[in-house]
Symmetry: none
Subunit: 191 residues, 4 copies
Amino acid sequence: MGANRQADIALAAVKLFEQKGYHATSVQDIADEVGLQKGSLYHYIHSKEDLLLQIAHQAISEFNDKLERILASDIPAREKLTLGIQNHITVSISNLQTTTVLLREAFSLGEHQHQVIQDQTDRYLDLWTQILIEGQKNGEFTVPQPKLAALALLGACNWVYRWYKSSGKLTAEEISSVFSDLFLKGLLQNP
Amino acid sequence: MGANRQADIALAAVKLFEQKGYHATSVQDIADEVGLQKGSLYHYIHSKEDLLLQIAHQAISEFNDKLERILASDIPAREKLTLGIQNHITVSISNLQTTTVLLREAFSLGEHQHQVIQDQTDRYLDLWTQILIEGQKNGEFTVPQPKLAALALLGACNWVYRWYKSSGKLTAEEISSVFSDLFLKGLLQNP
Amino acid sequence: MGANRQADIALAAVKLFEQKGYHATSVQDIADEVGLQKGSLYHYIHSKEDLLLQIAHQAISEFNDKLERILASDIPAREKLTLGIQNHITVSISNLQTTTVLLREAFSLGEHQHQVIQDQTDRYLDLWTQILIEGQKNGEFTVPQPKLAALALLGACNWVYRWYKSSGKLTAEEISSVFSDLFLKGLLQNP
Amino acid sequence: MGANRQADIALAAVKLFEQKGYHATSVQDIADEVGLQKGSLYHYIHSKEDLLLQIAHQAISEFNDKLERILASDIPAREKLTLGIQNHITVSISNLQTTTVLLREAFSLGEHQHQVIQDQTDRYLDLWTQILIEGQKNGEFTVPQPKLAALALLGACNWVYRWYKSSGKLTAEEISSVFSDLFLKGLLQNP
DNA sequence: CATGAATGAGAATTCATTCAT
DNA sequence: TATGAATGAATTCTCATTCAT
C-alpha cells in the first residue's frame, strides 16, 4: 500500500488478527497481505508477539489518553460520564478491528507482555472509577460501590466490539446516547 | 480421577483452556492432566475442537435454560431482571472456568462450529430483550431501544469473568445487587 | 537398522556429526539416515542439542570410568601410566566417531550443557594428574609440575582423533607403546 | 577503530569466532562489533567463510614460518626442539584467539577451503618430524617412529589453547620449559 | 480400552548475501 | 564507500491425528 512499511504491516496484522485471530494468523499470512517475503518482515518487527503487543498498546493508549483528558476537564461528573461513554463507543467503532484485537487477542501474549497491557487496562478502569467517585462526592451520583459500577459500565462498553456490525445502521452517537441514559437514569419508569 | 473418563477429560480441558487458552493447550497437556496417553484420548473425544464445542455448548445451555425459566415465570419484569442478573452472575462465578472458556475461547472454533454457539448466544440476548420489552409494555420500564439496553446489560454481566477473582471477598449476591440497582435506578441522585 | 530406535538415532547422529559437524548436520539429515520423518525423531530426543549432549556424555563417561579403575588398581604408577595411555588410545580409536564428536563438537553445546561435559573432562584431567603425583611421591617419576605434565599427555592423546585414519596400518598398541616410551623415557639418547 | 577496515574486521571476527564459535557468529555480529552495517561488510570481505579462511591461513603461516627458520638454523636438534616448543607455546598464547580459531573452527570451512589449511598443517607436522629425524640421525635422540613422536608433541602443544587462561599465572616460558624437559627426559627417575 | 510409534503439515525465526540508491 | 531493504532457502521444533498391536 503506502510507502510506510512499518504502518502497512501493522495494518495488515490488525486486519488478519481481527478476521482469523492471532493464533490462526501466520507470519506468512501477514507477509502475503503486505506483499513481502516472510523473512523480510523481520526487518520491521521483532516477533509476531511483539507485533500484537504494539497493536494492543497503541489501542489501549488511545482510550486512556482521551479519558484522562475528559477526567481532567472542568465539567460536571454527569457530563464526564456522558462524554466518556461517547468517546469509548466512538473510538471502539471507528477502530473496530484494533479494538477487537485489543480486547480479544491480548490474552495470547506471554505473561510478561500481557501484564504491560493489563497495567494500562487497569489504569483505564481506575479513570472511570474516579469519575464515579467524583460524582458521588459532589452529590451528582448515588453510587455505593464505584468500582463495581465502573466495571459494569466498562463491561457494557467493551462488549460493543462483539456485536457491532459496521453494516448496521446504528451510529456511535445513538449507542452512546442510549447507554448514557441507561446508566444515568436506569430502566425504571418511576423509581 | 473419577471413573467417568468423558467427564474427567472435559474437566481437564476446561481447566487448561481457561489457564492457558485453547491454542496454547495441547492434546498432550490434556492427556497428562487426566493421566492418559495422547492416543487414548481419542477413544473419548472426536477432536480437540469438538471438545471445546462440547464445553461451550454445555456452558451456554445452562445460561439459556435458567433464563428461559425466569422469563416464563409469573412475576413482574422488574423481578425477572433482578433474578436474571442474579442468575447470570451466580452461574458465571460458580462455573468461572467454563464461563471463561465459553466467552474467551469459543472464537477459536471453526466457522461452522462457532455458529452453533453463536446461535445459542443470540437466543440468550433475545431472552433478555424480551424481558425488557415486557417491562416496557406493562409500564414498568422506560426503555426506548430494548435490544441495545439488553446488549449493555449483557456486556456488563459477561465482563465479570474478566475481573472476578475467587480470592476476592465479593459474593455473587453483592455483585448482582449492585448491578440490579444500577440498571434499574441509574446513577443520578435526582433524575 | 535394528529395532532399537533410540540407539539407531544416536548412531546416525554420531556418524553425521563426525562427518559434517554438528552445525552442518540438520535434524532432517538425521531423520533421513535413520529412515524416519523429521517430526518422528522427537519421540526419541528432546532436542538436537540434547542429542549431542547424550553422545558427549556417554563418550567422556567411558574414558573416566576406565581410568578410574586403573587409578584404583594396585600396580606401580609407571604401569598405571602405560595402561592409561593404552586405554585412552584404544577407546579413542575403536570409538573414533564418538570421540571426535566429544572433542570437536561439544563446544557447540550451550553454556549450561557444555559445563556438564567440561566438569567430566576436568575430572579426567584430575585422574591423570593423580597418577603422576603418585609416581612422584613413591619415587618412580620426576615430575615437578604434575598438572602441566598431565596436560601435555592428555593433549598428545586427545590429538589422535585428528590424524588417525582407520585405513592406516597403525594399531592402538603400536601408538600406545610409542607414546608410553616417549613420555616415560623422553627423546634423549643419554639423558 | 583504526582506519584500516580490513584489519578491524578481521580482528572483530577473530574475537567473535573465538568467543561464540564460527557458526554462532552472524555477519550481523561482526558488523555490529566493527560499527558498520551488514551490507557494508561486503565491500571488504568476499564471504563469511572467506573471512575464516584468511584468519586461519594467517595463523598457520606464522607457525610454519617461524618453525622453518628454526629448522634451518645451525644448532643441535635438541636445541631446535626446545626452541620449537618455546616458539609454538609463545605464539599460541600471545595470539590465543587466533590460534583457537585456527584449531577449533577451521573444520567449519568447506571441503576445498579446508584443504588449503590442512596442507599447511601437514607441512607443520612435517617440519617437526624432520627435527626429530635429524636428532635421530646424529645420535642425539632415540626415536624409533619420528612421525608418531611428532604427532604426540604437536598434540601436547596444540592442546594448550584448550586450557590456557590468560588470567592464570603461567608464562609461556614456564610451560615451554616443562614441556621440553618432559619430551627430552621423560618422566622416569632412573630410566 | 489403552498404548505409543509414526506421520506430515506447518509454525516462527535466522541468516548470508545481493543490490539499488 | 555506505546503507538498509529485500530475498529465499534453511532450520528447529510442535502438534493433532491415526492406527497396528
